[in-house]
Amino acid sequence: MNKIGKKIVVLVGTLLFITNVWSQEWTAGDNVTLHIPFFCLIETNYAPVVLTFATPAAGAPITSVLNSDLFVKVSSIVPGTTHREITARISSGSVPAGTVLTLVSAPCTTTNSGGGLGTPGATPIILSAVDQELVDLITTCYTGTGYNDGYQMTFTWEPDNPANYSQIESINTNIIVVFTITAHDSN
């Protein structure tokens, strides 16, 4: 053992001795800094969402059609008592005239999730170009990463009120819906 090695042994021994002697009166501790960055991530299961109005009985209006294939997954760390929201808006395209497209989130699935998963709004939002809240009070949490983990989204597409029925036209269109998990300090 070299010189430095011996010195360290002596130093450690001394330290051990000192802490043993004083341990009844002092609490020894290291100042350990654990840094958890605040972050949020959002993704979907990329389920294709296709809504097609069904053919009604002769004389009947087209009725609502719904799709619940899409799940939204998040991971979130927030500081203190802050929270985040999941919002949705249409970023491209528009809902065909005479019809409305609504969206509502189910509570997060419980199989692979944990933490403060928030509360979905009770009333479906009518999708528009403006962000609207789907899930509120998301704190530090994770939803799981499986295909059917997370917040199940139900799209409902239906004719607007009867006064606008004549505006409906046969069409095949795509729209882009953007889901956002907000910054924790935006609330």
Binding site: F39, I42, F53, A58, Y165, I168, E169, N174, I176
Partner: protein
């Protein structure tokens, strides 16, 4: 420790990596996009409902959702209601025709049908009734300019049909029916496409 070239190169790379990783725009991981496909099919559906309170013989033939056939007699009268649902392509309309699809009228008998306006139980752009039509084996328009609309389903919804026979006594329905030669009228809804 820092005097060899390999280490210097390694440290330089590390420094460069950190510089680049911090100056790259932060990824927008708080946003995700979904494509939604919305399909409105073109719709042209027709049906008729007959008020069963009157002793009549009628037959319903479902040759397709856009076509229905009704066997009529001098007693059919005004008990028939035409219901339809329509969703049109941009710039197009649907229209309904009627023709005698089975049976032959005696030469001295004329069969007219009066088509009422829509009674307003549905919504949308209802078709325009052309009123009184003399039926023949050639399809004639009875309701035109149907946009996207629905009449409602059932009796007293849509357009009321009233058949009027000129010289009905010449037409022996019982005999015709037994011979399989009863008069049948087919209503067809078609797009102007």
């Amino acid at each position: 420790m820092f005097n060899n070239k390999k280490n210097i190169l390694l440290i330089s790379l590390l420094v460069l990596f950190f510089i680049f990783s911090t100056t790259l725009p932060a990824q927008e991981d708080n946003v995700t996009e979904v494509s939604i496909t919305l399909k409105v099919p073109a719709i042209a559906l027709i049906n008729f409902i007959v008020d069963g309170n009157q002793m009549i013989t009628y037959s319903y033939s479902y040759s397709g959702p856009e076509q229905v056939e009704q066997i009529i007699t001098p007693l059919t009268g005004d008990k028939t209601w035409l219901n339809y649902s329509s969703v049109v392509n941009e710039g197009l309309t649907n229209y309904i025709t009627a023709h005698i699809s089975s049976g032959t009228l005696p030469a001295d008998v004329t069969l007219n049908v009066y088509v009422s306006s829509d009674v307003g139980s549905g919504a949308g752009l209802m078709g325009t009734s052309l009123g009184k039509i003399t039926l023949s084996s050639y399809p004639k328009n009875i309701i035109v300019n149907i946009g996207s609309c629905y009449t409602g389903v059932g009796l007293y919804k849509g357009h009321q049909l009233t058949y009027a026979w000129k010289n009905p006594d010449s037409y022996n329905y019982e005999l015709m029916y037994e011979n399989g030669d009863a008069i049948a009228v087919t209503y067809t809804i078609t797009s102007t496409e």
